[in-house]
Symmetry: C2
Subunit: 160 residues, 2 copies
DNA sequence: CAGATGTCAGACCAACTGATATGC
DNA sequence: CGCATATCAGTTCGTCTGACATCT
């Protein structure tokens, strides 16, 4: 019971050939499903802008750098993303008075509205992706994922 | 420089504004960590070839199509991947005698060796990524992911 | 013939690398 | 001056689209 062995004529998956490494494969496959289903049509935006907006709601005045770290995007890529979001009026960038090299990013009212819409779409994606799991199992999964994300970075802890 | 730690003192950044949609974000972020850590140097190959080889070990005589479905890759992309693997001597492609349109893909001894090496690397990746989880929690996570993949994958991967 | 399977080439998109400007 | 932050340009990578060949 290791690999998908999806349907029809698959022979018996037989003994467990790989007891451990499978989780990473499953994780990768599932995240691909999420990506494929998170269409612009459904969310009103792509997955990454959604994640950025979501972070910004939880962190009202956020340095650009911290955003990049949290989303595990490098600074270059983030610039492009923020350019788009700013052009759409979903975020604002202003200089940090204390350190004028920095930009402080903040969610606008428009961004908040867009986020709410996207969130509704993501809820439906989650519902499809986690269709095989009961509610309490979903909660468990969520908690385990959260703990894994919190603990995953060995060579790069950086609080802000 | 990867990781978050956005929240300061409290486990919950605020009064649970989004109890649900978060799982998909966490999943996406975690899978990014996995991808970043699954370097060619560590595995001896990339992540996708690894997943393909892994599936082939569990399904000795596999139609190319089934492989693509299981890995959620489209056929085009798969061709390129198999070309590489075949050039490296890790897999063989032969015509299916029963239906000569099909190719039967099989793992070679060389491929099996490469897979074992990659698996060792993936185990260490898993160990880093899941550092924050105890053994029984890892097992639970694994099972939940498996069930989610089983439930989400075959039924509605793509509208055609 | 229509439909399925696999192959390839070119377009397209997301990500990384390097160089530049500004401020500490 | 060296270091940090943000930006942009160019390149590279992975994926998707479309045309084609083979076979049932």
């Amino acid at each position: 019971m290791d690999l998908p062995a999806p349907h029809a004529g698959s022979p018996e998956p037989s003994a467990a050939p790989t007891p451990t490494a499978g989780s990473m494969v499953l994780l990768t496959q599932l995240s691909r499903v999420v990506y494929r289903r998170s269409t612009e049509q459904l969310l009103g935006m792509r997955l990454k802008p959604y994640m950025a907006l979501r972070y910004l709601r939880g962190t009202p005045a956020c340095a650009q750098q911290a955003l990049g770290e949290s989303l595990m995007m490098d600074a270059n890529n983030l610039v492009l993303l923020l350019n788009e979001l700013e052009a759409d009026g979903h975020v604002t960038r202003r200089r940090d008075a204390a350190d004028r090299r920095r930009h402080i990013v903040a969610l606008t009212a428009s961004g908040e509205r867009a986020l709410e819409r996207a969130e509704a779409g993501m809820n439906s994606v989650e519902d499809e992706v986690l269709r095989g799991l009961a509610d309490d199992e979903r909660a468990t999964l969520r908690e385990l994922l959260q703990r894994a994300v919190d603990g995953a970075g060995p060579d790069a802890p950086l609080p802000c």
